[in-house]
Symmetry: C2
Subunit: 216 residues, 2 copies
DNA sequence: GATGCTATTGAGTGTGCGACCAATAAGCAA
DNA sequence: TTGCTTATTGGTCGCACACTCAATAGCATC
């Protein structure tokens, strides 16, 4: 009879409930920011009471950390999957940079800025950030190693090269919340330029390349 | 007789009061973060009532924006003064990178991360961030132009070069809240390497240089 | 259909925030 | 000294937050 208030309670298994809480928190973190991952906000999304979120995450800080990890892992997998049964390192790297230049990458940049800032105050989140940074380094390093092994790339220190590329991407992403329309070509191409230089590739080697088979 | 409560009220000129509010807010912003710039916090620092801060800044958001601007301007002037009566562009640039590698630079990096993130939600702050970014670009571009004019540097596009250097510095500074002890040499030197490359300088040209006369 | 476990609710605590406003007193000018 | 302007106070309101806990009800089991 009354308005839209939901009175019926739905009882789920702890695993299922926890999973949907984390999933929702990750989505909110990515789209609206980590400070929007609050007990009330997530509870409202799931049409449950805030106390329930507390039940699964006695400390809200843990939920925020988990939300970031899940979101960051998902985005990393989308940018550069760990499983690359087909396609060459050059193709995957080219795809990575193409995605990094797109609009969708702004959400990821924002998430990272968000997490890196918030980790100033929240130790739990700081650990997660460090963890995810290592994961990104590892992933990119691995692709570079494969490329070196195949003779596609040339570098003495694959890890240092990976980190350098990521530093440039971080630098470019730092402005995800401001206007960047009038950025010089040399700047927008910085990540590509860095990769080409550090990997001993000719100009255009990472742009004039067919896309690898899309992951399932 | 009682404890430390201060009952005597001190009346200052609006200009003086406003100045000390802004100064305090800038200090808090730099050392503890922009979210600590609250009416209550600044009032406590100055031993006045929160209402007084509201009196000078009817919208708290304006105070935060002002705090950031003042802090960022101060730090920019410390890193690379606008007035450089003595010393060469090479010397000033070398000094700039030396300071950028020091501990004290972490506070600045943190402030920028902080502001760039918060500007996602606060339009007032976003404008200030854009403003300060332009100021940094301009300052660095100017030094580069002087160096080009003197024949010390060589670049086709001083502004693009300036922005590229700043992108690298932003990328390196992004990790100001995490541990960066085991960073490869090639990474820690990235800003220098970028500058040397883009300015047509030999390796070491920006490190093996006497310091310019310190500004007053 | 009754029972027990526990996922979920409802209600409440305490904190910190910005914003608002009438009352007060500091210090200048008459 | 008196009076006036206004910088400053003190108190209040509403909101959002995390956290706690006894009471409730969904659901599997018997």
């Amino acid at each position: 009879m009354s308005s839209s208030v939901q009175r019926k309670r739905v009882r789920k298994t702890p695993e299922a409930r926890r999973a949907e809480i984390v999933e929702t928190a990750a989505r909110v973190a990515l789209t609206e920011g980590l400070e929007c991952v609050t007990l009330r906000r997530i509870a409202e999304e799931l049409a449950v009471r805030p106390g329930l979120i507390s039940h699964y995450f006695p400390s809200a800080e843990d939920l925020v950390g988990e939300a970031f990890s899940v979101a960051a892992t998902g985005e990393l997998d989308a940018l550069l999957p760990a499983d690359r049964p087909h396609g060459t390192p050059t193709q995957w790297l080219a795809r990575y940079f193409a995605l990094s230049a797109g609009e969708a990458y702004d959400d990821i940049s924002r998430l990272w800025i968000n997490a890196r800032h918030l980790s100033r105050y929240r130790p739990v989140l700081r650990d997660r950030v460090t963890e995810q940074e290592l994961a990104s380094d590892d992933r990119l390093e691995q692709v570079i190693r494969e490329g070196v092994a195949r003779g596609e790339f040339r570098t003495d220190d694959p890890r240092a090269t990976a980190i350098q590329i990521l530093v440039v991407l971080d630098g470019l992403g730092a402005h995800a919340n401001s206007d960047r329309t009038d950025r010089p070509e040399a700047v927008t191409r910085m990540a590509l330029t860095t990769a080409e230089r550090e990997l001993g590739l000719p100009h255009g080697a990472l742009t004039d390349v067919p896309a690898p088979p899309e992951p399932a």
